[in-house]
Symmetry: D2
Subunit: 461 residues, 4 copies
C-alpha cells in the first residue's frame, strides 16, 4: 500500500507528510509499534519465569534478544495463515528461538494479557514522552502570551456582545488554567492505566499450574514494565481505566476547540484583534487571491468534531459480556486515531499561537465602541453601594433613554436629579472609573499574574 | 510510509491485507481516488467552457487528456509549497498544458465547487458500484437462508426468554425486510447527493463575469458528471444531502449489528443453534486450544461501535457559519472511514452468513424445553374466544401453580373445572395445537414466503 | 407532583409556562396522550373483530364509548398493582365494560402491537398537525425576509472573513432552501411510520387462532387508524422507520442551529447587522443593565446541543435481540423530549425571525471595509479571461504589496505594466464592476428570487 | 400542570410514582431545589458583605430569614414579567426585605456567579447524600453476593462460549471492583466542583468597587458554602469540573449496564443460572401469561442507552465563546435528567440484585456441558511445562479429532504416544485437575476474597 492509497486522512495527509510528526507518533501509534510493545510484554513474562526458576536465565536472554527481530510484516504474514494475531506473534518468536525456549513463550497467558498490557504501555509512553511535552509547550506559549498581554486592554464579551473590560492576557489566562488543569488530569489518568496477566477468564487458571502465587507473579511481571494490575480483571483489564484516559484527552480537546473558536472569532474581519501570520507563498483561497483565513484554528475545531464523538465508542466498549466478548476488538484499535488527532491539534494550535499577531489598536478601537455603555455596570453598583434603591432598574431605563436621545449614559444620569444626588457622593477614585471606563478592569491584571504564577509553579514551568 | 506504519486500523489491517477489498475500495476512498475525481471535475468545467465557446474544443481536449496524468503524490508535493490543495491541483494541470489552456483551469470556480462535486461523485459511484452490489449479495444470502429454513422450527425469544414458536427462516426474514428497506434508502440518498459550481459564496459572482447564465452553466457542467445542483448553495453544497446519505449507511449498519448480535447469541454454548464454520488451521484462542468463537459476528458489532458515533460529526458539520467556515474540512475527510467500515462489515457478514451452519436438532432441543409453557398463550386466547372471563389472569395463576406442582399447564388446566368446561368446547384443530405446540406457528412460514417474495421483486433478485 | 417539582426543564420551564405551547404539545407528547392513543388502538382492534364477526357491533360500540373514560391516572394506579402498563390499560377497560365485551379487549395482541401503533399514530399526528404547520410558518417568515432583503447588499463571509458580496436576502434564501428541503424529508418520514398487529413474536401466532387471514386482518385494523404495517415485524415494528423519522428531525434541528449561529454572529457588537427586538421590561443582564443579548438564538443552539446527541439513543435502539428485548422501552419514551425540544426551537426561532431588525447601514459600513480587496477575485478572473497567465498568483502578490504600500489593489495593478496592458482590454461593464465592487453581486438577487419561488411552489406557500 | 401532562418519562413515570425516590431526588434535582440553592447562594454573598462591614449583621439576618420564603412559583411569575430568572429571584427577595437591605442583594454578582455556584452545591449535595449512599448499598449487595457465592462453580464465558471455570462469586467480584473504583471517581469529581463570584467577565470588575480584595472575598463567600473557586473563571466556572463529574457518572452507568447485560444473559431460558424474583401479582407479558422476563435488568440497560449519549452535550458545552456565550443555558439544565436516570438505575439494579435467585444446579449443569473440552487449556500448559514442543497446536488438533471421534480429549491424548509420554510425567495434583476439571479454578476463590476484602477496606464497608 502506498501513502495515497490510504483511506484515513491521518495516514495519507496529517501524519506522514511532516517528518517531525511522523517521528513523534510512529513509535507508539503505528501497528509496528503495537507489535513491538506486544513482543516486549512477552519478554517480560519470560523474565518472570526466569525469576521463578521456571526457565533458565539463558532462555530468557535468548528470547529477549529475539524480540527486536520480529516485525509486524512477519506477524501479519503468519496471521494470514492461522487467523490469530497473538498466536501469530508467538509463532514468529518460535521461528527464531530454540525448541527448549519456544515452549515457554506465552505460556499460561491469554491474548489479552499481552494486548491489554501492551496497550497500557504504549499509551503511557506516548503520554509521557510526546503528549505531555507537547501540551507543556502549548502551556508555555499561552503563559507567554498571557503575561506579555496582561495589561493589553480588551473589551470582555459575553453573548458575542461587549460587556465590561478585561485584558487580552486575562482572556488567555483562562486557557492557561484550563490547559494546565487538563495536563494534571491526563497525567493522572495515563498513570492509572493497568496491565494484567490473569489468563483466559481472569482467575489465573493457567498460571496457577506453573507458579505458586500467580497474583504475586503477575505483579512482578508487570513491575518490569512499570505497570500495575487492577484489583480485579477478566480476560481483559476492566475498561474504566482506558475510558478515563480517553475522557481526559477528549475533554482537553474541548478546551483546545474553545481556544480555536475564540481566536477565529477575534480574527473576523470586523473585529480583527488577532491574526495568524501567513507563510509567504501560502494561498488563502483558490478563487479570492486576497483572502487570509484562520485555517489553522479552523483545522483544530474540525479535528475536534471528527474526534469528540468517538468517546461514545469507548463508553460502548465498557460493556463486554461475562468474562469478555470480542466486540471491543476492532473498535479499540481506533483509539490510536483519537490520540493522533489530539496530538495534531495540540501541535497545530501551539504553532499558530506562537506566531499569533495581536493588534492592540484594533482592541482599543473595538473597546471605544462601547466605552459609553460600559459605565452602566459600575454606575449601578456604586449607586446601590451609596444607598440608591433599585439602581439596576433605574440604570437599565436610563441607558434605554440615553440610547434614544443619543446621549452618553453618564450625561443622562447627571440630568436625573434623583441619581445625581447619589453620584455626587462618589469618591474621586470612583468618579475616575466612570470617566475612564478603560480603568474599570477589576483585577484583570493581577488575576492574570496570579493564574500564570500558579500554573508555572504547579507544572514547573 | 509503509503499511504497518499506518495509524488507522483500516490502513494497516482491514483494507490492504485483502486484495479483493483493496480493489473495491481504493478507486473511491483513497486520496488517489479523490484527486482523480477532482481532476475529473475540473475537466467537466472546461467542457462547459467549450460548450459556451469560452475556450476552444482543442483546449478542452488538451486538458482532458492531461487529467489522468496527475497523481496525488504530485499534487501533495505542490501543496507542501503553497499550502492549498485545490490550487496545487490547478498548478499541476498547469505543468502539463499550454499557457493558453492553463488560464481556463478552475476559472471562476471556488475550491469547494471542485471538492463538493468530487465528493458527491465518488460517494455516488462507490454506492452504485460497490456498496449496493455488496448489500444485494448479503440480501441474496439472507433470502437463501430464510427460504431454506422457512419451516425450521425455532422457539421465538423475547427478553432472551422463550416465547412462542417461529421458524428460523422467519427470524431471518426480518433481516431480509430490514436490509431490503435500507437498500432502498441508501439508493435514494446516494442519488440525492448534489454537486455545485456557484463560486466563492454561492452567488455565481465570478462565473457571472464569464457566462451569461451561470445557473444554466452550472447545470450543464454537472450534467456531464450525472449530477444535479441543489436549489441553493453557499461556498459549499448544503450539508443535508450528505447527512442523509451517511444516516442511511449508519442506520443500515445498525441492522447489520443486530443480525450479528442475534447470531452471536444463537451461537452461545448453551444455545448452539447456529455456528460459524472455521477454516482448518484457524486458532480460536491463544491459550484455550479448543475454542470456536463467533469472531466474525463480533467483528461486525465492533466495527459498528467504532463507526456509529461518527454520525455526530456529520450532524456537527451541518453548522457552517455564514457562507461557510472551514471547520468541516478535516472532519469531512473522515467520512471515507465510515464508508470503508460499512463495506467491511457487509463483506464480513455476507461471508459468514454464507457458511452459517444451522443446527436443527439444537433448535428442536431448545424448543422442547418450553413446549409445556408455550401452551399458555393459545390457551388464554382460546379460552377468551370461547367465552371465558379473565382468561389471561387465570392462566397466569394456573401456570404459576403448575410450575410449583411440577405439572404441565394443560394437565393443571384440566384439573380446574371452571376452565375445563370451556376447554371441552374447543374445536379439534384448536385442541391439536394445544397438544402439539410446535404447530402453534401462526403464519410464520407463509409470512416468510411473503416477505421474501416481496423483497425479491422489489430488488429484482 | 407540582410543576416546579419536575426534573426535566421541559416540564417545569419550557412547556407549561406558555399556554399556547402547552396546548400544542400536550395532546401528543404527554403521557395522558399516549394512554389515549393506546386506547384508540385497542378500539381499532375491536372494530376489526366486529368486521370479522368475532364480536358483535354492540360490543364494539360499548368498548368504543368506554375508551375516552380511561385516564392515565387510572391506568397508572392499576399498573402499580400489576406492574404491566398495557395489561393495566386492558384491566381499566374491563372496569367499564360488560364481561361479554371484556374478553375481547386486547385479544391476540401483544403489548407492543398497541404501543408501537400508538407511537406511530401520535408522531404522525403531531407532525401533521403541529410540527409541519410550525415549520411552514418559519418557512414563510424566512421567505418574507429573503424576498424583502433580496437586494440588500451584504458582504459574503467565509472563514469569518469578508469574501465577495451577496445580499442579505440571498443569505436567508439558503435557509429557505434548507428548511424547505427538511420539510419534505420530515413529511415523508412521518408518513413512513408503521403500525403492527402481529402478536408476541410477529408471526401472528395468536391472531391465527381467531381469524383466517391475520395478515389481512392486521391491514384492516391499521387502515382504521390510517396506518400501514411494515413488510415484516417481530414483537415490535422494525426500528428503522422511527430512526429515519427522528433523523429527519435532528437534521432539521441542525439547520435551525446553523441559522441561529449565523444570526448570533451578525449580532456581534462589532458587526451589528441584525438585532433581536427586545420587550420593554426585559432585562439583558443581572449585573450589566445596558446589555441586549441574542438570547433567543442562543436558546435555539442550546436546545440543539441538548437534543442532537440523543439520535445515538435511536441508533442504539435499532438493536433488539431476537424477536425483541425490552432494552428499548425506557429509552424510547424519551423520544417525546426530542420532539418537544424541536418544537420549542422552531417556535422560538420563528418568533425571533419575525421581529428581526435588519440594519442596512451596518451592512453597508461593513461592506465598505473590504470594498478594496473584493476586487481581487473579479480582477483575477477577468485577467485570465482576457489572456493573462497566472493571474491568480499575480493578483495574490499584488494584493500583498498593495497592503504593504497602503494602496488600493486596483491602483497597484494599474502601476504594473504587465497587468495594465490586459486591464485596458476589459469591457466597460467589466470595468464598472471593478470600480464599483458592490455590483459584483453575481446572481445573488435573481437566485434569491428563484429559490424563493421554487420553495413557495413546492410547499404551496 | 398535572403529572400525566408531563412530557419527560422521568416526570410522569419514573420519579413521582415512588415516594421514596421522589423524596431522594426532589430536594436536589427539581426546579424548586435549584431556586432554593440559588437563594442560599445570594445569602452567602450577603454574609460576605457583613463580614467586610459593607452591610450590617442585621441586614444579613434579615435577608437570611427571607430566603426560605421564596418559592420557584413566585420567581417564575416574576420572570414572566422581566424575562430574566436571576433578576427575578433578586426582585422576589426585594419584596420581602427592607429597602436598605434590598440594595445589597446580588450586588456585584453576575447571574452565573449564583447559578454556577448553586449548581456545584446541589450536585455535590446529591452526590454526598443520595448517590454515594445508594452506590454503597449496591456495592454492599454485590459484596454479599460475591462472598456468598465465592465457591459456587460456574463456567467462565468468553465470546459467549464456554471457556474455563470460575466461580459465580468471582464473576460478581468484577463488579465489586468496578463499582468500587467508580465510587472513588465520583467522590473525587464531585468534590472538584467549583463555585465562583467573579462577576460579569470573571475579572472581579464590579466587586473591586466594593471590597479591597475581591479574590479573597470570593474565597470567603464560597467557604461559607463549603466550596472553592477554580484558579480562573470567566462569566462562568470553567466547564471541565462539570464535564469530569458527569463523565464519572456516565462511566459508572456503563458498569451498571454491563452488570445488567450479564445478568440478562445468564437469565436466558437455556442458561437459567440466575433469575429475578417476581412479585406475586406481576404480569410478565400482556399476551403470554407464563413469561418471567428480566425487565429490571432490561430497564437499567435502557436508561443507560437514553442517558449515555448525553455526555456529548457536556462536551459541546465546554465551548463557550470569549468570556461566555449563553448556548450552554438550556442544555445544562438537562444535566438533572442524567443524574436522575443514574439514580434510578442504581436503585433498580440494587433492588434486583438483592433478590437475585442463583440456580447452582443450572450452573453445574451448564458446566458439565464443557467439562471435557475445558481440559484443553491445562493440558497444553502442563505439556509445555513438562517439555513438550508445540503443545498448543497439538492439543488444538487433538481436540478437533476427539470431537470427530466423539471421544473425550483426555482419552484421545492418551492414545497419542508422543503426548502420553509427557502426560505420565505429570504430578498427582496435576493429573487430578485433568480428571476433575471443576478443580481447574485457578485462584478464583482466593481472588474473590482478596477483591472483596480490598474494597470493603477502601470503602469502609
Amino acid at each position: 500500500m502506498q501513502q495515497f492509497d490510504a483511506i484515513s486522512p491521518i495516514d495519507y495527509r496529517y501524519y506522514p507528510n511532516n517528518e517531525k510528526i511522523f517521528q513523534q507518533l510512529q513509535p507508539y501509534l503505528s501497528e509496528n509499534a503495537l507489535i513491538e510493545y506486544m513482543a516486549m510484554t512477552e519478554v517480560a513474562l519470560i523474565a518472570g519465569f526466569a525469576d521463578e526458576g521456571i526457565c533458565s536465565k539463558e532462555i530468557f536472554e535468548e528470547i529477549k534478544h529475539t524480540a527486536p527481530l520480529i516485525t509486524a510484516e512477519q506477524v501479519y504474514a503468519e496471521e494470514k495463515r492461522i487467523h490469530h494475531l497473538v498466536r501469530a506473534l508467538v509463532n514468529c518468536f518460535g521461528e527464531y528461538v530454540s525448541p527448549e525456549a519456544k515452549r515457554f513463550i506465552h505460556l499460561s497467558a491469554t491474548s489479552h494479557d499481552i494486548i491489554c498490557t501492551a496497550e497500557a504501555l504504549r499509551y503511557q509512553d506516548i503520554t509521557q514522552k510526546v503528549l505531555l511535552p507537547k501540551l507543556l509547550e502549548l502551556e508555555k506559549t499561552l503563559l507567554y502570551v498571557a503575561e506579555k498581554e496582561k495589561a493589553t486592554l480588551q473589551i470582555g464579551r459575553t453573548h458575542g456582545q461587549h460587556a465590561v473590560p478585561i485584558t487580552f492576557g486575562f482572556a488567555i489566562a483562562e486557557y492557561v488554567a484550563r490547559v494546565g488543569e487538563r495536563i494534571h488530569e491526563i497525567t493522572a489518568k495515563a498513570l492509572q492505566l493497568r496491565g494484567q496477566l490473569s489468563g483466559a477468564v481472569g482467575a489465573y487458571n493457567a498460571s496457577s499450574l506453573i507458579v505458586k502465587d500467580p497474583v504475586a507473579f503477575e505483579k512482578n511481571v508487570l513491575a518490569k514494565l512499570n505497570l500495575k494490575p487492577a484489583t480485579h480483571s477478566t480476560q481483559i483489564v476492566v475498561p474504566e481505566f482506558m475510558t478515563d484516559y480517553v475522557h481526559s484527552i477528549i475533554s482537553c480537546f474541548g478546551v483546545l476547540a474553545n481556544l480555536a473558536d475564540d481566536m477565529r472569532h477575534l480574527q473576523r474581519t470586523e473585529i480583527g484583534e488577532v491574526g495568524e501570520l501567513f507563510e509567504e507563498k501560502q494561498v488563502g483561497s483558490s478563487t479570492m487571491p486576497h483572502k487570509k483565513n484562520p485555517i489553522h484554528f479552523e483545522h483544530v475545531k474540525s479535528l475536534y468534531k471528527a474526534t469528540m464523538p468517538r468517546m461514545m465508542t469507548l463508553y460502548l466498549d465498557q460493556i463486554s459480556e461475562h468474562q469478555r466478548d470480542l466486540t471491543n476488538s476492532a473498535s479499540s484499535r481506533f483509539t490510536t486515531e483519537i490520540v493522533a488527532n489530539f496530538y495534531l491539534a495540540i501541535d497545530r494550535l501551539t504553532r499558530t499561537m506562537k506566531k499569533l499577531a495581536v493588534d492592540k489598536e484594533a482592541m482599543q478601537r473595538n473597546f471605544a465602541m462601547s466605552k459609553e455603555s460600559i459605565v452602566a455596570e459600575p454606575l449601578y453598583v456604586l449607586l446601590s453601594l451609596h444607598g440608591c434603591q433599585d439602581a439596576h432598574e433605574k440604570i437599565r431605563v436610563a441607558a434605554e433613554i440615553a440610547r434614544l436621545e443619543k446621549k452618553s449614559l453618564l450625561q443622562k444620569v447627571r440630568e436625573m436629579p434623583e441619581l445625581l444626588e447619589v453620584v455626587v457622593k462618589f469618591t474621586p477614585e470612583q468618579k475616575q472609573i466612570l470617566e475612564n471606563p478603560e480603568q474599570y478592569l477589576g483585577k484583570a491584571v493581577e488575576k492574570t499574574e496570579e493564574t500564570c504564577n500558579y500554573w508555572r509553579k504547579e507544572l514547573g514551568l
